[in-house]
């Protein structure tokens, strides 16, 4: 087999060296009762050619040649060529977690740059080396806030991504962390500050909001921060559309920022792998989950990087660790790092401006349901038309429409979430407008 590098004679020599007559003898100590006495019921191995064919066929069963207006946490942005050029290098692709600093400076330096850029982007002081994704980053941020405040109750906006809220509930359920929700304004689509104020109490450890929120609305982070802080809680701000940070004021009132970087050259890939981040204030640094890279020197005094503050982590602290996370999303974070480098200071702004222009062009053809200011997605409804028939009509034009919201928000069953990015073409947006009309 092509992945097994031994010839029969080499295998023979090794078996002999082990003092057994066959490699099978190395399993002879296994109790009879645990042994599988038949071959695995899986077909025999196939060639590289057949593997490619198999997956080409599967790919052809998915959408091909469609344009899309889906967002809702996963966005269609162009992936600069250099991103894959870099991550396909075996030195990055096939290396392990950089515990051995002397032979991992490439990964360590790149992570240090990543942490720096995430700080610059979010306005926070420190950022970790990545989390699994935005949804688990949020759950980890909530646990972190509870550790810091010693208060277990969590107040989360209904305008936070519904699947993120589901993940939060799963994590919180068994840790004495009751989760309650507060509403959004029927007209603006922004968080309902009065409802939040009403629900705040002395037991609340964190208030959780998203901006731009699930409806695409630039949310009232500062207002939420004031209410949270007045009540002795931390404010966690979530983002799912990282490109928005190219143009939007970073969440200055946040104590912890938890986000998803999929927009930064990470393919939608049917939902993963993506990369989440947690960034925070310096004073909360030692309560952060996940890996951190720090700057130091070697014995000769040269600048060097290494994994640091490991006493927070599971391999040292075991049941007292800040999180159980071990493997994170290093290679995906590297994709985001290359993306941020390619676009840079000017490019990320220009990219965000293009998204803004496209989404507002689309919104001029499809009336937004909410009056709040939005970045690149918004909620739309067509009077007298349900989302499903609209999407059906669009599919005939090779367009995947918006996300019908009824599954997550019964009160918005007549609406869909539409997203336009720099990749949305004007004729397609005109076509959406026609179907909505």
């Amino acid at each position: 087999m092509r992945y097994l590098p031994k010839s029969d004679s080499e295998r023979r020599q090794m078996v002999d060296a082990c003092g057994v007559t066959s490699a099978e003898d190395l399993f002879s100590h296994l109790p009879e009762a645990v042994r599988l006495k038949r071959p695995l019921e899986l077909p025999p191995g196939i060639s590289e050619y057949e593997i490619v064919q198999y997956f080409r066929e599967r790919a052809s069963e998915n959408a091909n040649g469609y344009s899309t207006f889906l967002g809702a946490g996963v966005y269609s942005h162009f992936r600069p060529v250099l991103v894959d050029t870099v991550v396909e290098r075996g030195e990055f692709l096939t290396s392990y977690t950089p515990y051995q600093a002397e032979i991992s400076q490439g990964t360590l330096t790149a992570i240090f740059e990543f942490q720096t850029m995430i700080c610059q982007l979010t306005g926070m002081d420190v950022a970790n080396a990545s989390m699994y994704d935005g949804s688990t980053a949020l759950a980890e941020a909530a646990m972190m806030a509870v550790r810091i405040t010693g208060k277990g109750r969590l107040l989360v906006a209904r305008s936070v991504h519904p699947e993120y809220r589901e993940v939060l509930s799963t994590y919180a359920r068994n840790q004495g962390m009751p989760v309650e929700e507060f509403g959004y304004l029927d007209d603006a689509g922004a968080l309902d500050a009065e409802d939040l104020e009403r629900k705040m109490d002395g037991l609340t450890g964190a208030v959780i909001v998203q901006s731009p929120n699930f409806f695409g609305i630039v949310d009232r982070v500062q207002e939420a921060a004031e209410i949270a802080h007045r009540g002795g809680a931390l404010l966690i701000v979530v983002f799912t559309e990282a490109v928005s940070l190219g143009i939007l004021e970073p969440p200055a009132g946040a104590d912890i920022v938890a986000g998803e970087l999929q927009s930064f050259a990470i393919a939608p890939s049917y939902g993963g792998p993506f990369a989440g981040i947690i960034a925070t204030r310096e004073k909360f640094m030692r309560q952060m989950p996940g890996r951190l890279v720090g700057q130091t020197v070697d014995t000769r005094g040269s600048r060097a990087y290494c994994l640091t503050l490991a006493t927070r982590e599971q391999h040292i602290r075991r049941e007292k660790a800040t999180s159980n996370i071990c493997t994170n999303q290093a290679l995906i974070a590297l994709m985001a790092t290359v993306f941020m480098t390619v676009y840079g200071k000017r490019g990320l702004r220009e990219l965000a401006e293009q998204n803004l222009a496209k989404s507002h062009y689309l919104a001029n053809r499809v009336k937004p349901r909410f009056c709040g200011k939005f970045f690149n997605e918004f909620v739309a409804r067509a009077p007298g038309k349900e989302p499903e028939p609209i999407n059906k009509a669009l599919l005939k034009k090779k367009i995947i429409g918006g996300l019908p919201l009824g599954r997550f928000y019964p009160e918005l069953a007549d609406s869909m979430l539409l997203c336009a990015t720099e990749m949305s073409r004007r004729p397609d947006m005109d076509a959406v407008g026609e179907v909505f009309a």
Partner: protein, 491 residues
């Protein structure tokens, strides 16, 4: 910083921020085909940020040079053997990268209509079936993003089942040889952790277990083969003890590379286990992820699996969200799909008989190393080992040379170090897992390196103590890094 003193591969390379200079570009966007909008007007002036202070400004050529130079400072499997015990650093087939990037798969949006995602769903269904067969379990969820995430999911499933039976119970038992993630995961699932001491042979102490397991115990988390690479001989009895007291058996499947086609956890009493696709199933570790940590369970736990679940509806796949007893989601969407594609490609390449050959070769490699290194290093546990072998530095420690020093010296010989100081039950542990993708020549070179270092410890310990010598940077000061953390660049 000196700007150029050495050939490219070892040349100094500034950080991106130090390379930046105003006005340099590495991108060009297409001409906007719609009217531009005024940001302040559209978003409100108070919501529009100033330029991102310090963000890079470099040209395309500099981007490629920068990251390529950084890459040359890494060791990687493509360079050579990576004998990290418990990490299963095997060759990452490149065809897996190609198929994961096929446009129809890579650009599938998780919310695109199921009718236009049948290919993705078929890939997931086929992988679930294959993993169930390999593990001998009844159902598989592909949602967890990595091993520790799978552990958490598995323990939440156990908790949900026990709650349904009337009492979630209070604690999880974990052997003292276990991975650190095990206790950390159990705590997030709301359990107290009780450590179970190993017996003198390094395995589970069955007699002690029999005494400890009571009505408060929800489950035992066991790694099998354990972190010494030793198969738990009495695993069936262990399962009986737990089941007899209404508790469950969870298995950390990190070492599944030792069992494929040989023995199946489902057949020896395991109720739930996670797999690390980035270990056993060859998906690249990428410098620390992404991974994937599917969880396989017995029928009794199936109703509790994270929603949504794949279901067959006529001739099509559909997502079933109506799962009343589900523990809920453990992440958004359906899992690290791109990693799942790679793992399935690996399973297809080997096929059923091939996966068994993988295990046989992995175990042969570890035993070959054991035979050849035993004369030079102390083997604290002598039970037959499977895919990995754990030595201790006790002989070398007499000369004040420790596992960590020998590991650093290995770098000078062109190898990545083995796993240092784990498992905790071995003082000065040297944990070696070659995997099946090392040939005899590579193994012989490794043996030569290790025996040579053993001799150096006797003749010239200082050389070992100050290693590595051939790397771009020497040993780093980790203490200062932790004491005065610098976690970001500042001008």
């Amino acid at each position: 910083m000196i700007t150029k003193v050495r050939p490219h591969p070892s040349q100094n390379e500034p950080l991106l921020f130090e390379r930046s200079s105003p006005g340099k570009l590495a991108y060009q966007l297409p001409e906007l085909d719609v009217p531009p909008v005024d940001a302040a007007q559209t978003l409100g002036a108070e919501n529009v940020r100033a330029a991102i202070e310090g963000f890079p400004e470099v040209s395309e050529v500099e981007v490629i040079r920068h990251f390529t130079r950084l890459s040359t400072w890494n060791y990687a499997i493509d360079h050579g053997m990576y004998p990290l015990g418990s990490c299963t650093m095997k060759y990452n087939p490149r065809v897996n990268e190609v198929v994961a990037r096929l446009e129809g798969l890579a650009w599938a949006h998780p919310y695109q209509p199921p009718a236009l995602a049948q290919g993705s769903m078929e890939v997931m269904a086929r992988l679930e079936t294959a993993l169930a067969e390999i593990t001998g379990m009844d159902a598989v969820t592909l949602q967890p993003a990595a091993g520790a995430h799978g552990e958490l999911t598995g323990i939440l499933l156990i908790r949900a089942l026990l709650e349904k039976r009337g009492n979630p119970r209070k604690k999880i038992l974990i052997p003292d040889s276990a991975h650190g993630t095990n206790p950390a995961s159990a705590v997030i699932a709301g359990y107290a952790v009780e450590h179970v001491p190993s017996n003198p042979a390094g395995g589970l102490d069955v007699a002690a277990l029999e005494r400890i397991v009571d009505a408060d115990v929800a489950a035992l988390m066991v790694t099998n083969p354990n972190t010494l690479g030793v198969f738990e001989q009495e695993i069936i009895r262990v399962a009986e003890i737990l089941h007899g007291k209404g508790a469950l058996l969870y298995m950390d499947g990190a070492n599944m590379n030792a069992l494929m086609g040989i023995a199946r956890p489902g057949d020896f009493g395991v109720d739930a286990l996670h797999l690390n696709l980035h270990k056993t199933f060859s998906t690249p570790h990428g410098g620390g992820g992404p991974g994937a940590g599917p969880v396989a369970v017995k029928k009794a736990l199936e109703p509790y699996l994270p929603a949504p679940r794949l279901k067959r509806s006529g001739k099509k796949w559909a997502w079933d969200y109506k799962r009343k007893r589900s523990i809920g989601r453990v992440r958004a969407y359906y899992g690290n799909f791109g990693v799942l594609v790679r793992a399935l490609a690996y399973i297809l390449a080997h096929g059923g008989p091939g996966l068994r050959n993988v295990t046989v070769d992995a175990v042969l490699n570890a035993n070959y190393l054991r035979r050849k290194l035993e004369p030079y290093f102390d083997l604290p546990y002598t039970a037959p080992n499977m895919h990995e072998v754990v030595f201790s530095d006790s002989r070398q420690a007499q000369k004040d040379v420790h596992s960590g020093d020998i590991a650093k010296r290995l770098i000078d010989y062109g190898f990545h170090p083995y796993t240092v100081s784990f498992p905790l039950i071995v003082h000065g542990a040297m944990m070696i897992e070659p995997t099946e993708t090392e040939g005899k020549r590579e193994l012989d070179q490794f043996i030569e390196a290790m025996t040579s270092i053993a001799q150096e410890v006797d003749s010239d310990p200082q050389t070992v103590l100050s290693a590595p010598h051939g790397t771009r940077i020497s040993r780093v000061d980790e203490v200062t890094a932790a004491r005065k953390p610098i976690l970001r660049w500042k001008p």
